[in-house]
């Protein structure tokens, strides 16, 4: 069961991460790849609060999300002044810089990683925790779907379409971008806390550019800006490496081959189905469309 549990937890966590990442880059149009670092900040914050300050896990995890959110706002204030490719590179700098810092500090466990994080123990059974993680994943998707279809989501669409026009209509673009970034990062931080107390070991290197690439791949293969795309992308791409081990290949080539098939598949997708598995609609839709249609006609 544990094997299955772990796969389910990882799938649920990747659903949370890919969805929130899509919220930032797909919906928000903020091209940052630093998403894993907020995952890391949430994970480390929650782990350290529980381990060193003996906070109960149920408090430590949300606190980790808050830490990630606060950090994201602090980064966003200077970094969101630049946009597009520049933001992308700034985010890489931030991400790798924080990883280096974690590796050099003593109280984060340093380069060797943080071990013996308090968590649910295997003897008590992981069942309830796994269910909680899955429920949180579902709640995350529901929340992001709600936001995307709310008036806020309409504003996000407009902002992404045309920032100067958005500003000229009296909308505070910077405020919105920070909001998008903060929400996405807080959710990533939440996933981090959930990860930390399940796996109970963290090392800074696992939150690097390769993690970013994996998340990006999930979003792109799944279908950017479609609510269900990143969900599907996360599940498929998390299951794929597991499935590849069925091929009964000699292990000496299985490792690289796994990577080759994985990246190759992404390339095939990029060229033959760039819109992803699930295609996002071109036009933003809100809730209760029928009702509003009636309303306008009446007016």
């Amino acid at each position: 069961m544990e094997y299955l549990y772990t796969i389910i937890v990882m799938m649920a966590l990747y659903v949370i991460l890919a969805s929130s990442f899509d919220f930032v880059i797909g919906h928000g149009g903020l091209i940052s790849i630093a998403h894993p670092i907020f995952y890391a900040l949430g994970a480390y914050a929650s782990a350290l609060l529980a381990k060193d300050l003996h906070w109960p896990i149920v408090l430590a995890i949300p606190a980790g999300a808050v830490v990630a959110m606060v950090a994201s706002v602090l980064v966003a204030l200077p970094a969101l002044r630049v946009s597009g490719d520049y933001l992308l590179i700034a985010s890489i700098g931030f991400q790798l810089g924080v990883i280096e810092a974690i590796k050099n500090l003593d109280w984060t466990g340093g380069a060797g990683g943080l071990s013996n994080i308090p968590g649910v123990s295997i003897t008590q059974g992981h069942g309830p925790y796994v269910i909680a993680v899955v429920l949180i994943a579902i709640a995350t998707v529901a929340l992001l779907r709600f936001v995307a279809h709310s008036p806020y989501g309409r504003a996000i669409s407009a902002l992404r379409d045309d920032e100067p026009a958005f500003i000229a209509l009296g909308r505070n673009a910077m405020h919105m971008k920070i909001g998008i970034f903060a929400l996405g990062s807080a959710i990533a931080g939440l996933a981090g806390g959930l990860y930390a107390h399940y796996f109970r070991f963290l090392s800074a290197d696992q939150f690097g550019i390769m993690q970013s690439a994996a998340l990006l791949t999930m979003v792109v293969v799944g279908g950017m800006r479609s609510i269900w795309g990143p969900v599907l992308g996360a599940i498929v791409l998390e299951a794929l490496p597991q499935a590849l081990t069925f091929l009964n290949l000699p292990p000496s080539i299985l490792g690289p081959l796994q990577g080759i098939l994985f990246t190759g598949l992404v390339l095939i997708f990029m060229f033959f189905r760039p819109q992803g598995l699930i295609v996002a609609g071109d036009v933003w839709t809100g809730r209760r469309n029928a009702k509003e249609a009636a309303h306008v006609r009446r007016a």
Binding site: P151, R154, P164, A165, I167, L169, R171, D282, V296, A299
Partner: protein, 256 residues
């Protein structure tokens, strides 16, 4: 309605801006009283659109002041100026292609309910604000004759109507001053008349309007007076017919 003490319209004094070696605004003084329609004319590169960008706060001026109904806008960012009643349209439309016609308008009210994540936590208030916005959008759509296509994606709408949507969107803001950047370029038929009618109505309602337009007929029909710009400076101001007839200006316009 506006934060100012009295309705004095738009007042621009000593506006300057240079990019590197290029001067786009050279001590521009320009006042547009409420209810008046002023046409900006001049050759390409005269600084007309730059003037709009400076007034609307898209670009920060090097010097000078911008006032609207007595309120000093000079130090305010673009979005704040818009909230104080300064609206503009764009030469190349800048509609939101991923939104329907109605949703394009719903982005634009002065108080937009969906701008803050915190607003989502107060659904009742959000709903009422959204309802008000829809009421307003419905009336604007009605006024501009766009009600029938309210739910079409803007990308599917003919060009002329897109121009109209740009104007309608600016109206959602309940502006005190409206900057129209080439509202007629490429517009024919019914939309032409509709835009003309809307602009006249707005002026009648006491809004200060500034228009950049190459369509001389439109300028003559619509504007109370014209301002001739060249190389970032206001060269002449007066009745549109007189300006157009001035051979020196014509030479500058069609230039070398």
């Amino acid at each position: 309605m506006s934060a100012g003490l009295e309705a004095t319209g738009l007042e621009v004094t000593g506006l300057c801006k240079r990019f590197g070696g290029i001067v786009v605004a050279d001590a521009i003084d320009l006042a547009i009283p409420p209810g008046r329609v002023v046409g900006l004319i001049g050759p390409n590169g005269a600084g007309k659109t730059s003037f709009f960008n400076l007034v609307a706060g898209m670009v920060r001026a090097d010097a000078g002041r911008v006032r609207l109904d007595g309120t000093d806008l000079t130090r305010l960012p673009g979005y704040s100026r818009a909230r104080l009643g300064l609206a503009r349209t764009w030469q190349n439309l800048r509609l939101f292609p991923s939104l329907s016609v109605l949703d394009n308008l719903l982005i634009a009210p002065r108080r937009y309910p969906g701008e803050s994540l915190a607003a989502l936590l107060r659904p009742a208030r959000l709903r009422s604000a959204e309802y008000q916005a829809r009421e307003r959008a419905a009336s604007v759509l009605e006024r501009t004759g766009l009600a029938a296509i309210a739910h079409h994606p803007v990308a599917d709408v003919p060009f002329g109507q897109q121009k109209l949507i740009g104007v309608a969107r600016a109206l959602m803001n309940d502006p005190r001053c409206l900057l129209l950047d080439e509202p007629m370029a490429g517009v024919e038929g019914a939309a032409y008349g509709a835009i003309q009618r809307v602009v006249r109505d707005l002026a009648a309602a006491g809004i200060a309007i500034c228009v950049v337009e190459h369509n001389v007929a439109f300028i003559r029909d619509l504007c109370d007076e014209g301002v001739f710009m060249f190389a970032g400076r206001v060269l002449a101001r007066g009745e549109v017919g007189t300006l157009i007839a001035d051979p020196r200006l014509t030479e500058l316009y069609f230039g070398t």
